[in-house]
């Protein structure tokens, strides 16, 4: 991998150059929290943020997306508007890039999703390193480091950003700045290794995921799920903020006074009571307990069977977003028998 370094004071200039690769979006402070949004000026960007409310998946799988427009004389026409828009997401954390790499697998496969693929192709990703806060457990989920899925990745090291160049487009971005980037020295690498080790030691949350899929399987009939079902409101907040939740609903709407319409997909959640409801009224998961169990089962067991690892990346958003304080790390510790469920 090509590795360069950028003097810290040159970041502003780099950001101005990078605009030619697309509309720049970055974390911006909003009411004490952070959101990814279009920058009006570079000074709005907050690269020292902890986490954004919604993950960057909102750019690749928008909360609401028109898939087709329908008119009787032409049938279903795929919607292409917005798919060619070039964006630069500046300041994406490693766990969120890891999550995009997981979504890449879901939206590829036997039937590649062309909407997701087009957006993934046209949106550049520039990663930045981060420090864990009280909700972060990406290290436990082995998602605290990414080696692909970004165009550039910045590691703050001393007076520089050590820069991993992930794609040809990332290389073009570096080259477009002229002589701004410099070659790395052994001293930079040594410093990077020390910083990386220090980060490893900085995590406040740590869970063990080894054999977790077997444990989830064995504890399928555990009372833990009923207790969680009692607490869970089925609000779906954890799914909406999850960087790897991808369930979507598809609906058709007819324009008022017309026979033309559109087919739209919207984010859905397995916690919603209609998720497994079929025509005729039978619901395969009609209790809150069965739905929250399904969410854990799919992330920690189902995904392992399908893709070889849990789909959770340890970003901590569901912990921060849950209105009744259901904490995935506590649930996993309970399942492992490390925590008494009733004491929670």
């Amino acid at each position: 991998m090509k590795i360069l370094k950028l003097p810290k004071e040159k970041l502003d200039f780099f950001a101005s150059v990078v605009q030619q690769f697309g509309e720049v979006h970055a974390p911006v402070e909003q009411d004490g929290q952070y959101v990814f949004k279009r920058l009006n000026r570079w000074s709005e960007a907050r690269l020292d943020y902890n986490r954004t409310i919604l993950p960057p998946k909102k750019y690749f799988l928008p909360p609401r997306e028109t898939m087709f427009r329908y008119r009787p004389e032409v049938g279903y026409q795929p919607e292409t508007e917005g798919l060619d828009k070039r964006l630069v997401l500046f300041g994406v954390h490693g766990c969120d890039i890891f999550a995009l790499n997981i979504l890449d697998q879901v939206f590829a496969g036997q039937y590649p999703d062309p909407y997701y693929q087009a957006r993934r192709k046209n949106i550049a990703v520039i990663g930045v390193r981060c420090d864990p806060d009280e909700h972060c457990f990406c290290r436990s989920m082995r998602a605290d480091f990414v080696d692909h899925g970004f165009d550039l990745f910045f590691y703050e090291v001393g007076d520089y950003y050590l820069t991993l160049v992930g794609t040809a487009r990332g290389d073009d971005m570096a080259l477009a700045t002229g002589p701004l980037f410099e070659p790395v020295t052994q001293a930079d690498i040594d410093l990077y290794k020390r910083r990386s080790w220090a980060k490893r030691e900085a995590f406040k949350l740590d869970i063990e995921i080894r054999h977790l899929s077997e444990i989830v399987e064995m504890e399928y009939h555990s009372g833990i799920w009923d207790e969680l079902g009692e607490r869970c409101l089925s609000c779906g907040a954890c799914s909406m903020v999850c960087p790897t939740c991808y369930c979507f609903d598809v609906t058709d709407d007819v324009e008022l006074g017309s026979v033309a319409g559109r087919r739209t997909r919207t984010w859905d959640s397995c916690l919603f009571s209609t998720h497994a409801l079929v025509a005729g009224g039978h619901n395969f998961r009609d209790s809150r307990a069965s739905r929250i169990k399904f969410r854990y089962y799919h992330k920690q067991r189902g995904f392992v069977a399908e893709y070889g690892r849990p789909s959770c990346v340890g970003c901590g958003r569901c912990i921060a977003a849950c209105p009744v304080h259901i904490d995935i790390t506590e649930v996993i510790n309970q399942l492992r028998g490390l925590l008494d469920a009733r004491s929670q």
Partner: protein, 291 residues
């Protein structure tokens, strides 16, 4: 429709290889088989597609009714009879209610076929047992006709089908015509016969096992029906020492995409749309919530 060449290259897959793209198909016949269970015969508007469209027995389609939405429907016709597709549709949800408002010659959208279908290659040379209750005949019918149209490729064939009354029996006329065939055993039964004209069996579906000779070691059983059918038929098959791998079931789930993306049809760690809808009983034992 926009030409692909008018669009910049990078998102052309949305136009040219869009797995969600419905193809127009014409309703060529509506057969009012049973109230609220009509048989719709469809033909792709594109003639070449109508003739080339291939599928496996047990696969399903995503059916679009403009303005109402999309729903998964199993294919009731057999790939051994190409040209048209037959869908046995129960009027029960938004999409199917909208379909029932359409008339012959109206155009709907179809994409597919999806799912694994029956493992036809594995079934060749074996005995087949079809056991269906109520609406369960709809997904099994494709394999029934596939086997009968390729009769020499299969050994003994036994079909047992139970409905509440003769009037509730799907495909009644054609199934009654199978009763006289000497190259198969067709056992039709009803729970009750209010009209008093039914010439076949009266009694619950599991009692049909008393009229059939089965060799579990070389028989594949295809089972479909409401939960009560699974309960009693599976019990019967296991008692006869059927291997769990030789019991095949067609499952129903909520589906929004059919292609393993939308997440709704997930059971345990499998997607009904990709790994199903045909599962073995062993799958069902292993996958929570399956039946």
């Amino acid at each position: 429709m926009l030409e692909v060449s008018e669009i910049p290259g990078f998102y052309s897959p949305v136009l040219s290889q869009n797995p969600y793209q419905p193809q127009p198909a014409r309703i060529v016949r509506i057969y009012k088989m049973v109230p609220d269970n009509h048989l719709f015969t469809l033909r792709f508007v594109d003639d070449a597609l109508a003739m080339s469209f291939s599928y496996r027995p047990g696969q399903f389609l995503m059916l679009s009714v403009p303005g109402a939405g999309e729903a998964p429907i199993s294919i009731s016709s057999s790939p051994s009879r190409p040209g048209v597709l037959e869908l046995c549709v129960r009027r029960t949800g938004r999409v199917t209610n909208a379909l029932y408002r359409l008339k012959t010659n109206d155009v709907v959208g179809i994409r597919g076929p999806y799912g694994n279908g029956f493992p036809v290659e594995e079934l060749l040379g074996n005995d087949l047992l079809f056991a269906a209750g109520g609406l369960g005949m709809a997904p099994l019918r494709s394999l029934v006709w596939y086997a009968l149209d390729n009769r020499e490729k299969f050994n003994n064939i036994v079909l047992m089908y139970g409905a509440k009354t003769p009037a509730d029996m799907l495909f009644r006329e054609e199934l009654v015509s199978l009763v006289d065939r000497t190259d198969m055993t067709c056992l039709l039964t009803v729970d009750s016969d209010p009209g008093g004209v039914w010439k076949n069996h009266v009694g619950l579906l599991p009692t049909m096992f008393d009229h059939a000779t089965l060799d579990p070691a070389r028989t594949y059983a295809a089972v479909c029906g409401p939960p009560v059918v699974y309960k009693y038929i599976l019990e019967r098959l296991l008692r006869l020492n059927f291997s769990k791998n030789r019991i095949l079931m067609s499952l129903e789930r909520r589906m929004k995409c059919g292609v393993g993306k939308c997440g709704h049809c997930s059971v345990g760690y499998k997607y009904t749309c990709l790994h199903g809808p045909i599962f073995t009983y062993w799958d069902a034992v292993n996958l929570p919530e399956m039946i």
